[in-house]
Symmetry: C2
Subunit: 145 residues, 2 copies
């Protein structure tokens, strides 16, 4: 787990070569789909019923967008900035379907540091095993120091 302070962070705006960034991989499993149902209460058939999903033109049931977006929690809370993180907002958009079994690569970099509020803006994306960008996000995080 990273322990960055606000002062440790280098934004891409301030140094386009040596800026603060992070990347990790995450695979989506059936168990994660079941757990997300139990947390969220979202029993929409697109995520629960393969027949419904294929009838709608998908090759299988689709992973919850907000399950995929939970990886932004890890990106901020473990890496950018890590231990000192206090999350302000996550603006997440979904661009291509994710399926159970997909191996996702989650990455982000610090785009801007806001000195007056001591908040960082992290630009993040999630790419699947085929190189398709399935989602992106703008994350604002402050510091517990």
């Amino acid at each position: 787990m990273n322990t960055f302070t606000f002062d440790d962070i280098v934004s891409k705006k301030d140094d386009p070569e040596n800026y603060t960034r992070a990347e990790f991989k995450a695979a989506v499993t059936d168990e994660m789909m079941d757990k997300f149902l139990e947390i969220s209460g979202d029993d929409n058939p697109l995520h629960r019923d393969s027949t419904f999903a294929t009838d709608k033109g998908f090759r299988d049931r689709v992973v919850y967008g907000m399950l995929t977006a939970s990886f932004y929690s890890r990106l901020a809370g473990v890496y950018l900035p890590g231990r000192n993180c206090i999350l302000h907002s996550v603006e997440s958009s979904f661009h291509a379907p994710v399926f159970v079994g997909d191996e996702l690569t989650v990455s982000g970099f610090v785009k801007v540091k806001y000195e007056s509020t001591r908040v960082i803006e992290v630009s993040a994306k999630i790419v699947n095993q085929d190189g398709t960008k399935v989602g992106k996000a703008k994350i604002l995080a402050g510091f517990l120091e």
Copy 2:
């Protein structure tokens, strides 16, 4: 589960009195915190370690923002629009801490209908048992019809 089509939906912009809206309650449990850790991989101590959280000025460990945001998945997938939902984006911000045991009220209404893209914009908020707004979101959802 609602089965609204795009044509069924009435936005607040189009009818400021009889617009499409929804509300439900959700309580946060320790089990949900553990499941969110298993899904997201976010082991930040603010969410896992009461001593760390109280040292940082909170009365107990803080519920993951993105766990609370998972209720927006239910809001869109079960209610607005429900069965026909295909989620495009969720812009979620966190305004006050949520704690295990909190009883949250999640509500939303259709603010705008975008006719050309057949997308609805849902304005959502989450309020705790004390009436404090803990978060809000702008959700864009399309229709599988």
